[in-house]
């Protein structure tokens, strides 16, 4: 086994059981304030609806809770610890001022049904963010309501559907390139559409000839990620848009990879009709171990009538209000107005950057990805030689000869102090290593990553078992996911007494 390189070293991390295992009757981490109203008899008020016990809910003290969750936290990898090269996930730095402003009293404690006269602060934040996102995307109107990217996709497709219905028929199919993220086909199905696969050409881009033959009056829209999941900008984007529009179809853009474009090019300018953004990717809101996200959907003027209700409007006196009178709207996709706390953070990020910072961010993201590409080309197989933007996709073709697959390399990367890259897609690259460094990495961190990847490639040649058995330095080794799926244990239960 090679000595692991400069970045990582072992350290003690402490064992910690389940919180239930620390519980014993009479311990408590709470105290209620003295009541200023008369006590009540719950049995009298609730009758048979009164609950008598909360079963085996835990009873622990405050210090135990602090230690419990602090110990658990040390078992996680996080951006704050190092690079997260997950392709198409845009794991960038989460600025701390965002967290501070989101916790300001009026913003954190504002009830969603506050009268609009005393909710102007929240409405102004939503309006300012909307204006910024419309400008960044080059679109005409926006909804902030969807709670995440996939929810935004659904909202966008419902609007596509409503648009076509207004012309007489919702149409039947959505075209999706074979390089797309899996949520695209899942969303199309949820919106009631059949999915038709669109093959990529040898450069990893949409095959315009295939699109020409597959595009007809049954196709409602093409769902395109641009740059696509190979990191390749669809150079024929104008032809693609024209082909769609000529047959009455719409061009949907999945904005997952918007971090390659902000300040450099606007989807609205290259023919996109509707697109979603991921505030938890491009706009730096924290991923939080899997959410909350936020997935605003921006549209061209033609789709504006179909935006979910309510829509923000400006009163003649320049105060802001919600407009609920939207007869052509697709309806509501979520209660209230969306993940407002994420709007606050995203707007703070845009303000911290300004136009120059946003452009520099995009440039650095593309610079970083190309630096890695250059550093690893040859060590790993690069199936598509087409120039790439903010991410790069290698394959495990060279390492597979030794029986080592992308997931093994990814797991070995953990021992070098990095989070793995994306392995699950794009499906058009068997054994994909999909790497997106984002702009948040310094040249030193990038060099460490390249060095780690090259070292692993050497290990594959000299000592493949080390890679196949990885990781070696974590609390737990690989867990058997298939056994877990066969006989799932999804909750703690008290031992039978």
């Amino acid at each position: 086994m090679n000595p692991v390189t400069r970045k990582s070293t072992r350290h003690v991390n402490q064992n910690e059981g389940l919180i239930f295992e620390k519980s014993s009757p009479g311990k408590a981490a709470w105290r209620l304030p003295q009541s200023d109203v008369p006590e009540v008899d719950a049995g009298k008020l609730l009758g048979s609806a009164e609950r008598k016990t909360l079963g085996s809910m835990p009873e622990v003290s405050e210090i135990e809770i602090i230690r419990h969750f602090t110990r658990l936290s040390t078992w996680n990898y996080a951006i704050d610890l190092g690079m997260y090269p997950l392709g198409s996930c845009t794991m960038k730095y989460n600025p701390r001022v965002n967290e501070v402003v989101a916790r300001l009293e009026g913003l954190a404690n504002g009830h969603p049904y506050l009268p609009e006269s005393i909710a102007q602060g929240a409405l102004r934040i939503m309006k300012s963010l909307s204006d910024c996102l419309i400008e960044i995307t080059g679109m005409d109107a926006i909804t902030l309501q969807p709670a995440a990217g996939a929810h935004g996709e659904l909202t966008g497709l419902l609007m596509v559907r409503a648009f076509h219905e207004s012309k007489g028929s919702p149409r039947k199919k959505i075209l999706i390139p074979d390089s797309a993220h899996g949520t695209n086909p899942a969303t199309a199905a949820t919106a009631g559409y059949a999915v038709e696969n669109l093959k990529s050409n040898t450069a990893g881009m949409v095959d315009v000839a295939a699109l020409t033959s597959q595009m007809n009056e049954d196709v409602a829209a093409l769902m395109l990620t641009n740059p696509n999941t190979l990191g390749v900008f669809e150079q024929d984007i104008h032809k693609i848009a024209d082909l769609m529009h000529a047959k009455g179809g719409l061009l949907y853009m999945d904005g997952a990879n918007m971090n390659a474009l902000v300040g450099k090019v606007r989807p609205g300018d290259f023919g996109v009709d509707v697109m979603h953004l991921n505030l938890h990717k491009t706009f730096s809101t924290p991923h939080g171990g899997g959410g909350p996200g936020s997935g605003p959907v921006a549209v061209k003027r033609t789709l504006e009538p179909y935006l979910p209700t309510p829509v923000l409007k400006e009163n003649p006196d320049s105060t802001l209000a919600f407009d609920y009178d939207r007869p052509q709207s697709v309806g509501r996709v979520r209660a209230f107005y969306g993940n407002f706390g994420m709007f606050v953070r995203a707007l703070a990020y845009i303000m911290a950057n300004g136009p120059d910072g946003l452009r520099q961010t995009t440039e650095d993201a593309v610079l970083n990805a190309n630096y890695i590409r250059k550093g690893l080309d040859g060590t790993y197989d690069l199936p598509y030689k087409t120039p790439t933007m903010h991410e790069v996709v290698f394959s495990d073709k060279l390492q597979a000869k030794k029986g080592v697959r992308t997931m093994d390399i990814a797991k070995r990367l953990i021992d070098y102090g990095f989070h793995p890259y994306t392995t699950a897609f794009p499906l058009i690259v068997p054994g994909a290593l999909m790497i997106e460094p984002t702009e948040s990495e310094s040249i030193e961190e990038l060099d460490l990553f390249v060095e780690a990847m090259r070292s692993i490639a050497r290990e594959v040649d000299e000592d493949p078992q080390t890679v196949l058995q990885a990781p070696h330095t974590t609390r737990v080794s690989r867990l058997d996911e298939t056994a877990a799926a066969r006989k799932p244990n999804l909750r703690w239960k008290p031992a039978a007494s």
């Binding site: 389940l18 519980s23 981490a29 008369p38 719950a42 008020l45 909360l54 835990p58 009873e59 969750f69 990898y77 997260y84 989460n94 967290e99 913003l107 954190a108 404690n109 504002g110 009830h111 969603p112 005393i118 909710a119 960044i136 996939a150 996709e153 559907r161 899996g182 086909p185 899942a186 199905a189 949820t190 150079q235 984007i237 090019v265 991923h287 939080g288 899997g290 909350p292 309806g331 979520r334 209660a335 107005y337 407002f340 994420m342 303000m351 950057n353 120059d356 452009r359 610079l367 087409t386 933007m389 990814a410 953990i414 040249i443 737990v476 080794s477 867990l479 877990a484 799932p488 244990n489």
Partner: protein, 456 residues
């Protein structure tokens, strides 16, 4: 730009290493005619202090310092301070979805504990790792019932949160699922006879909420019997999670769709919140969203891992059970910490205190108007019908920095001058008394006017 860890010299040396002249070369794949040749029209780059100032100003314009009687699916509860200390740890805040189990055990174990406590509180056998919010959880639970029964239509009680019903209508309409509504009776509960009439052999499920939008606890037993008699499933939405501390959980339900915002999640003008779906073990494979399971590694050590990952979209694509990908992990962590803090005895005592506050509120405010739906038990919300338009009462209350109950006319025109009031442990007796005297002022003004008439 202060978030970017590069010097100009770094950038130059990287360009050189890549073998290009300038950064523009890396953007050459973008056709020149589309490249933006100007600055984006967004606010100029600001210092941290300027950003803070701007948002402080917005915060002041947003109900700062107001006491509120608003509930209706978003509840004001005290948030113990250790919640924010713990969730601010970068290892939780800035971690990705725990697909790589070996370096995500913190998030995974925490979700496992969350699932376990949700099961304990709801009386269900399995719970998922969270959904976007209560409204989307309810819609997803209904779609789950459609998949489970192979039937297409849905009956929703009119006492379900109106915005939850709107979300369901959006999903149902585009899926071509017939959706009907069952009215309520004078006790504020769903009308069982009307409900039975709307059940057909095609009804996949009945959706109710308990406590419902009026704060009234539904007769879940009776509704469950009806639904099951007709081969339909029962989906129960719980919007006020704290009610589970003192109200028997709706465990006769087949699926529970919950909003856990009450458990330590800031009101935050409506989000992010934390939806959850809980159900019976036999239905787990049709449950959307992520699930964490306990397992062992090759040395026999306990570990946790994302389970039943096959429904997820990157594997199943268009055949996935749902398109949900990102959920609300950090908010689920808040909920988990809150449930741990209050635990077995605290949640019950806290719920009891809510019951007491609402009881005081309904007595005091009830003297000045008509308490609707008093024939059934309630948790911490109640409906008061006044002679005067509640919007006018609220305008008077705003002068005292109090936000009164939610006027119901917008959602329930049939209820006229009724408003939905909520009292939690954060509602002071003083605020309740002030609200009562504001309602009373109407009467006094009338008296004054009458006396003026006499004097003339």
């Amino acid at each position: 730009m202060r978030y970017l860890p590069k010097s100009p010299a770094d950038r130059q040396s990287m360009l050189k290493a890549i073998g290009v002249q300038s950064i523009d070369d890396l953007f050459s794949p973008i056709p020149a005619e589309y490249r933006l040749k100007r600055d984006l029209k967004v606010p100029r780059q600001m210092a941290e202090s300027e950003i803070l100032d701007w948002f402080r100003e917005r915060s002041r314009e947003n109900g700062e310092g107001y006491a509120t009687f608003l509930g209706a699916g978003a509840y004001s509860h005290y948030r113990p301070v250790i919640i924010d200390s713990l969730i601010s740890r970068g290892e939780f805040l800035t971690a990705y979805t725990p697909y790589q189990a070996e370096i995500s055990q913190g998030t995974l174990q925490s979700i496992f504990e969350f699932q376990s406590m949700i099961c304990e509180l709801t009386g269900m056998e399995v719970a998922n790792a969270s959904m976007y919010d209560g409204s989307t959880a309810a819609a997803e639970a209904v779609m789950m019932a459609v998949r489970l029964t192979g039937r297409r239509s849905v009956v929703a009680a009119r006492t379900v949160h109106p915005e939850y019903r709107e979300v369901l209508a959006t999903y149902a309409f585009h899926q071509g699922m017939p959706l009907s509504e069952a009215r309520f009776t004078g006790n504020g509960r769903v009308d069982l006879e009307a409900l039975e009439r709307s059940l057909t052999p095609d009804t996949a499920c009945v959706l109710i909420q308990s406590p419902n939008f009026f704060g009234t606890i539904e007769d879940v037993n009776a509704v469950a019997e009806l639904a099951h008699k007709h081969g339909a499933l029962l989906v129960v939405a719980v919007a006020e999670a704290l009610s589970l501390g003192i109200v028997v959980p709706p465990s006769q339900a087949d699926v529970i769709a919950m909003e856990a915002q009450s458990f330590g999640v800031p009101l935050g003008f409506g989000g992010p919140y934390c939806g959850v779906i809980a159900t019976r073990e036999q239905y787990v494979r049709q449950m959307p969203g992520r699930l964490v399971g306990q397992n062992t590694d090759k040395t026999g050590k306990r570990g946790f891992v994302l389970n039943l990952a096959t429904p997820e979209q990157h594997v199943r694509r268009e055949k996935a059970t749902s398109n949900i990908c990102t959920n609300q992990a950090l908010i689920a962590l808040i909920v988990n910490i809150f449930m741990t803090i209050y635990g077995k005895t605290g949640l019950m005592e806290l719920a009891k205190l809510n019951l007491a506050k609402a009881d005081y509120g309904v007595r005091e405010l009830g003297k000045l108007g008509k308490v609707l739906f008093s024939g059934a038990p309630r948790f911490n919300e109640f409906v008061i019908e006044t002679e005067e338009d509640p919007a006018t009462i609220n305008t008077r209350l705003l002068e005292q920095k109090i936000v009164g109950g939610l006027p119901l006319r917008k959602f329930y025109p049939e209820l006229g001058n009724a408003a939905l009031w909520c009292c939690t442990e954060t509602t002071s007796r003083k605020a309740i008394d002030s609200a009562a005297s504001a309602i009373k002022q109407h009467g006094r003004r009338e008296e004054v006017r009458d006396m003026e008439k006499v004097a003339l």
